[in-house]
């Protein structure tokens, strides 16, 4: 196989209605590359959750996707508040989302757990007040 293909997206933090667009685009690219439905499903759920998280908590950020020979790497970077307690954030149902965001149907506290569930590995690099970088891998 050739060089990995990279896709870059800026995730707009001001706009809830466009949240999820980057994952829709990635999904299309993976279909064009001929990946099987289960791989596409994993990448798109994990990326969608991550994208929504960046919009809710961090006023947006950047998403980089690297489609390589044996794995798909999703890197989500933001300059948001950081995660104070990663173990707590990983618990299902834990959420710090504001009520107005929960009213939109988000903030159920399933974002990070779902991202972990749908990927083969997930690494969280976070510093309070500086930002968060999440690296997820889906093996092929």
């Amino acid at each position: 196989m050739n060089e990995p293909i990279r896709f870059h997206f800026d995730v707009d933090g001001e706009n809830f209605s466009s949240a999820g667009e980057a994952s829709v685009t990635v999904k299309k690219r993976l279909r064009q590359l001929g990946y099987p439905p289960d791989v596409i499903r994993k990448v798109s759920v994990a990326m969608y959750e991550g994208e929504i998280n960046m919009v809710i908590h961090a006023h947006g950020g950047e998403a980089d996707i690297e489609v390589g020979k044996s794995e798909i790497v999703i890197i989500l970077r933001d300059k948001g508040p950081g995660i104070a307690n990663v173990d707590l954030a990983m618990q299902e149902g834990y959420s710090t989302a504001r009520d107005n965001i929960r009213a939109l149907g988000f903030g159920a506290g399933m974002g990070l757990p779902n991202m972990k569930k749908y990927t083969d590995s997930m690494h969280i690099d976070t510093e309070v007040g500086v930002g968060t970088t999440i690296t997820m891998k889906v093996l092929l």
């Binding site: 999820g20 279909r31 590359l33 990326m47 399933m110 779902n114």
Partner: protein
């Protein structure tokens, strides 16, 4: 479905001006402008009819059988869908339409709304089963079914495997004809659907539903509407009465099918763009986060079937008329004889993912093409103007890599090149002029130069 898919949207080349209206509105990027007119890419078209609606030159047409096709059959049965009932002004009794259809030469009329009530009953039963994937997605709109099979592999299993009302109506109508007229052969009987949309025409033409298509011909609602206007005028109080109820007629508009499931955990959406957004979201949401959603009704046309591209009335007006027409009807007079759903009422096979979008069956080749597409796209203006004949710069880059067009079709790049050429040429022209002229006369040269600059 391996054979070439037959579409029901066609183009009258002479009428098409090659404007980019349809190009920009096609939800699956199936249209390109080539040699000055639109070309529909068959493998991408979902027959939604958007291009028919938006074409300013009326160059896009729906293909369907014309009413003359009736003469092919000895015994003709009309299948009017409930959306037909909403087309007429000052109509207070559906019986007029049913009677009118008989006057047009149909031997019998079988209302699709009656079959819809059976499908509603089956749906209620089906979604209670523990082995079905939720949310169950309605199988009624063929544009949505085709869209899912092309772009949402993960959702293919969610589509309800029970046939849409039109097929069940066709099946029952044929059985009825054979029962009442044992002397008729299968070939003698013509089951004719009066379709509100081109999508249902393709659906029938491609034998999407069953081993043997239950429907023999599909005529346009518009054609039938105008034919009916002539015969309906002459009538006294009709002797035909509708056999359908509130629920069956409700299927003509969005939400009708959902409310008939008697379960408030439903989602009903219409308009192809909205449907795509809903599907995108369902496709990338964990089941547990769907809020216990059980049923999804998606209609490609605004307001549902009343918004089909072969209807006459405005969809919202038709909807209001249907409200009046169904007001005093019983809720659901058509009920299945038993809990058992006949085998004939299921799709012949499950909906399969059709990866038409794949760049190449070979992954390495697909990778190479994708890299090339990305690098070409970086050099494009990314303003999605459509002048190149592709709906977006991304689609244009894909077309270049697939060898379907060339980079110089981009007018923005061409304009830039033209300006660069002019700049370069201007300098050269000035230099060339200066050299031979400077020894003799400088004075006569100056005004000329000023002239070219202005």
């Amino acid at each position: 479905m391996s054979k070439q898919y037959q579409h029901s949207v066609s183009l009258e080349v002479e009428k098409c001006k090659g404007c980019t209206t349809c190009l920009k509105r096609c939800p699956t990027e199936a249209i390109r402008i080539r040699d000055g007119h639109a070309v529909i890419q068959s493998d991408r078209c979902i027959d939604c009819g958007e291009c028919i609606r938006v074409c300013p030159y009326k160059a896009k047409k729906a293909i369907h059988d014309d009413l003359a096709c009736l003469s092919r059959f000895k015994y003709k049965v009309a299948l009017p869908p409930p959306s037909l009932y909403g087309q007429f002004d000052r109509l207070d009794n559906i019986g007029y339409i049913l009677q009118g259809l008989k006057e047009l030469g149909f031997d019998d009329v079988f209302e699709v709304a009656c079959a819809a009530e059976l499908v509603s009953a089956y749906t209620r039963q089906y979604i209670k089963r523990s082995d079905v994937k939720k949310p169950v997605i309605s199988s009624a709109c063929p544009t949505i079914t085709r869209m899912i099979s092309m772009n949402y592999p993960y959702l293919c299993e969610n589509i309800m495997p029970i046939l849409p009302p039109v097929d069940i109506a066709a099946y029952l109508a044929r059985e009825k004809a054979k029962r009442e007229h044992p002397e008729l052969t299968d070939e003698d009987i013509g089951i004719v659907f009066i379709s509100p949309c081109p999508s249902k025409v393709s659906y029938v033409k491609n034998d999407f539903s069953a081993e043997r298509n239950y429907i023999d011909a599909v005529v346009s609602m518009r054609d039938v509407y105008f034919a009916l206007l002539d015969v309906m005028k002459k009538q006294e109080e009709p002797f035909e009465t509708t056999a359908s109820g509130l629920i069956g007629i409700g299927w003509a508009t969005t939400g009708g099918e959902s409310t008939a499931v008697f379960n408030d955990r439903y989602l009903a959406a219409d308009g192809i763009e909205n449907c795509i957004r809903v599907l995108d979201q369902l496709d990338q949401t964990e089941e547990a986060d769907m809020g216990g959603l059980e049923f999804v009704e998606l209609n490609a046309c605004s307001s549902g079937c009343v918004g089909g591209a072969m209807t006459v009335a405005n969809p919202y007006i038709a909807k209001a008329k249907l409200h009046t027409l169904k007001r005093y009807l019983p809720v659901s007079p058509n009920q299945p004889a038993s809990e058992w759903i006949p085998d004939e009422f299921f799709f012949k096979s499950s909906i399969e993912y059709n990866p038409y979008i794949r760049l190449s069956p070979d992954r390495s080749e697909a990778f190479r093409m994708m890299s090339e597409i990305e690098s070409i796209r970086e050099g494009l203006p990314n303003i999605d103007c459509g002048s190149c004949g592709a709906p977006t710069c991304m689609a244009f880059a894909e077309d270049i890599v697939k060898g379907e067009t060339t980079a110089d079709e981009c007018t923005v790049i061409l304009k830039k090149m033209f300006h660069e050429y002019l700049e370069e040429h201007k300098d050269r022209a000035v230099n060339e002029k200066r050299r031979p002229l400077s020894p003799t006369s400088n004075a006569s040269d100056e005004p000329n130069e000023g002239g070219t600059n202005a």
